[in-house]
Assembly symmetry: C2
Homo-oligomer: 413 residues x 2
Amino acid sequence: MSAYTRADLAALDQSDPLAVHRDQFDVPDGVYYLDGNSLGVLPRQTPARVEQAVREEWGKGLVRSWNTAGWYELPRRLGDKIGKLIGAAAGQVVVADSTSINLFKLLSAALRLRPDRRVILSTRDNFPTDLYMAQGLIALLGDRHELRLVDDEAILGAIDDQTAVVMVTHVNYRTGRMHNMAATTQRAHQHGALMLWDLCHSAGAMPVDLDGVGADFAVGCGYKYLNGGPGAPAFLYVSQRHQPEFSQPLSGWMGHAHPFTFDWQYQPAEGIARYLCGTQPVLSMTALDCGVDTLLAADLNDVRAKSLRMTDLFIELVEQRCAGHDLTLVTPRPRDQRGSQICLSHPDGYPIMQALIAHGVIGDFRAPDIIRFGVTPLYLRYVDIWDAVDILATILNTRAWDVPEFKQRAAVT
Amino acid sequence: MSAYTRADLAALDQSDPLAVHRDQFDVPDGVYYLDGNSLGVLPRQTPARVEQAVREEWGKGLVRSWNTAGWYELPRRLGDKIGKLIGAAAGQVVVADSTSINLFKLLSAALRLRPDRRVILSTRDNFPTDLYMAQGLIALLGDRHELRLVDDEAILGAIDDQTAVVMVTHVNYRTGRMHNMAATTQRAHQHGALMLWDLCHSAGAMPVDLDGVGADFAVGCGYKYLNGGPGAPAFLYVSQRHQPEFSQPLSGWMGHAHPFTFDWQYQPAEGIARYLCGTQPVLSMTALDCGVDTLLAADLNDVRAKSLRMTDLFIELVEQRCAGHDLTLVTPRPRDQRGSQICLSHPDGYPIMQALIAHGVIGDFRAPDIIRFGVTPLYLRYVDIWDAVDILATILNTRAWDVPEFKQRAAVT
């Protein structure tokens, strides 16, 4: 392993086929933004498009815009666009609500489809809301089910004939570890279990092939790699083969077969629309539409290739420049187990991340001790990786993090 | 009853204490907007505020804005603001999700608080999503409960000792009939039942006093009288006395006591925050914040007084100008039974409403035969009522509605 110079990374930027995509975004000056896995950067198109939705569609069109501006169709239309990023043929994805709410819909559906099985299997280190939603559903159903949690590495072996549904986040939010989607789905199906993927840290970060692996259900987030803006609505996927079997319990009027006949009796819509519930936030969804376009403009194979090269470089540079500072690499080294982020643990992770942010390197901290750097190839340059590690090395060498102001915890970390 | 002239109504506008509030809004030229009970008009403040949220808070502040721009606190802060409009002291209202989702949370809570009772009592003509959400919950819980539906007029007499929760929309969406909130709540409590009010057609339209009447739960909509924009997030109210007793089943991470410790086990937050679930759509919620400000700038007693005067006038003018055209007044005449809308039935209601819209009078149609006119005193003038009825009379007299183009149904009516 040779010692890289900044010039080496600048050369990579020169030949980067994705370099042109950075122009789609408004990356603030003086910021090395390594937190696109928490909130993606503002696309340049978005402000004008949102303004049009506010001033023209709402302001001038008023209620007529439900028809004339396509608001009514937006959850399905945008769902089909996201479907192209995650390997889902049209009619299987809808945008609505939050990831948490969508998990509730799908877990309910899964338990209904496997009435004789009592186990929801997941990973102990799954993103907490996934576990909380399962806990809430289980309590509501009278504690007749079990949420069984195992380590990420043990998931394949833990699937058995009691398992109703396997709920796994494809890329672990805290470690960056990526699961083998095909093998896990196959194992679930061998045991008659259903497979629910959480794509929050993979949709828009790499190619995903839900139809190809035969997944049953999936959810994902609009505000991370999809660049949809703060709290953008989430999406859900239900394989075509399961759609007619069941209508989910959050049976709001937008999932009704004929919402505007105002029948008193619920009758589920055909297809994926039955996974809609209430009226959706059109302005936030319009911003998500712009964000999804930034991904559709690129080839996700290029995105994945650049992401892996960037995370390789991040690891190598940290090992060259930050040795002897108690940092531990948490993200797996094998490329086929690595998402689009680098996580390092350090006993003083919190103040170190605050010092980094104060110096323009925006990543985030994940309790108890992890500093997390997301890699978003559409708007990051290779030299950003060099500069970020350079600043990290300086902070560690000078102990610039070891001051009271960086130790005070904020509400949102 | 004397015959009014347009000049009579212009004189009312001259002395209207709320006239100045119209300047808070961008009402399009050439439009008589009588659909603010479906989608409120764009406030003038909103475009710039949303643009700031997009360009500055998201674009420049990026993920830091969860702390620095107050995004994290927004659902609670905005909830307290809405609380001022509905008679709820601080700490009892939170903004989140949709009305439908919030109904599910509160119905679940109510059934949990009354475990030995099996009846959810509502009205047959309640807004359908309220009924659908109850149906979805009942099915999920194994059909051990009953959704008992009665006519609006019969609700008081139908409350009995089997009733777990009474779920009523304060103002009926289709008829404009208003329930007596104090008497209904009192009757529910006399029988040991809980009272859940749907305020979709009253929040921002008239003074509401949830604490005063002793309500247990309430939900309401952000996009009607609160002027929050298309699909704006909804709100929910839980009386202080019920908050510690129960945590609701949609137990997402934003309702956790410590979301950023990322514990695997759900632990509900203190207070109303436990009714949060996932991450909220910040851009749509920012627009709602501006909309709520338009109401807080006025006295809701003035709003109610003008609304009643306007609906009185609407009824009188229709009776003077549109007699002999098969129109039937559906909205109750007694002021204490009337919300802020006028509903008329007509066998050809659908094409009549389409003709009205084509002539700039925007109301809406509600199946099977109702044309509905919402009255929003902050931005409507008395002369708008005169002009709207004038156009209605012309359309009826000339049968301008009786052409094929007005009979084709749109997706959203």
